[in-house]
Subunit: 124 residues, 2 copies
Amino acid sequence: MDHHSCQRQQADITQINRCKVRVAERSDTFTYLSKALELAGNPTRLKILYLLYKEKQLCVCDLSDILDMGISAVSQHLRKLKDREIINMTRQAQTLFYSVNREYNNLLKPFFRILDDQPSLALI
Amino acid sequence: MDHHSCQRQQADITQINRCKVRVAERSDTFTYLSKALELAGNPTRLKILYLLYKEKQLCVCDLSDILDMGISAVSQHLRKLKDREIINMTRQAQTLFYSVNREYNNLLKPFFRILDDQPSLALI
DNA sequence: TTATTATTTAAGCAATTGCTTAAATACGAT
DNA sequence: ATCGTATTTAAGCAATTGCTTAAATAATAA
C-alpha cells in the first residue's frame, strides 16, 4: 500500500532516499534490537535481568519472593526471555536456575552499568 | 498481597534480602529505564529514533515516506516519544521538525552504535 | 508406587497497543 | 476572510500483553 499522500514542497528527496537505504540495510538489526529492547522494556523483566546479572543465577522461586509476584507470573516472564535466548536455564535437582546469556549480557551492559552507578538512597 | 507460597528449602535468605534491597534502592531508575526501553522496543519507533539521530531532524511527513506508513500512525509514535521527552519538536513555518533529546541520545547511543557498525549488505 | 517439592503450562480476562479513518487545528498564501 | 498545506487528535477496533487460577509435568523422597 502507498502512503505518500504527504509531500511537502521543500522535501529533500536525497535525504529521504538515503534514509530508506539506511533502514533497508539494517532491517535485521532493527528486528534483533527491537525484540531485545521490547523484552527489557518491561519493568518486571528489567529487574529480573538485572538481578540475574548481579547474582549470576536465580530460580523462579527466588524471583517470586524478591519481586513479590506470583510464581506463575514470573515463570511466564522467564519463558519469554528464554524463548528469545536472552537467558539460559540449567537444572540442579528439582530447581531450575536461570542466567543471562553472554551475548545479551554484553548488549544490555550499558543499562546494567547505569543501575550499578545508582547512588544509594539509603545514604540520604 | 503475599506471594511467598514457594520457599525452597535451600533458599539463600541472605541473597534474597540483598536482592530486595537492590530492587528497592533502584526503583526510580528501573522505572526510568524501562519506560525508555519500552518505547525504543517498538521496531517503528527504534527506526524513527535512529533516523533522527543520523539526520539530526526530520518531520512526520519525511518519516511517513521513509517508513511507508500513514502520517497519522507515525504522528502517534512521535507523540509517545515527545510525551516522555525522548524527542523535541521545533516548528519551521508549517513544518514541525523532531529531534532526539540530548539525554536520550546518550542513553541510546550504544544501540545507535550497533546500527552504525552494521556492515553494509550492499557489499556482498 | 505414592507423595512432596519445584516448576511450567493452559485457559480466561481486563488493560494496553498500534493501526485506520475521519475530524480538528495551525500556519501561510492569495 | 478563505483556501491549501502540514500536522495532530479523536474514535473505533483487532491483536497483544500480563496477570490470575487451576491443571499438568518433572525430579526427589519415603
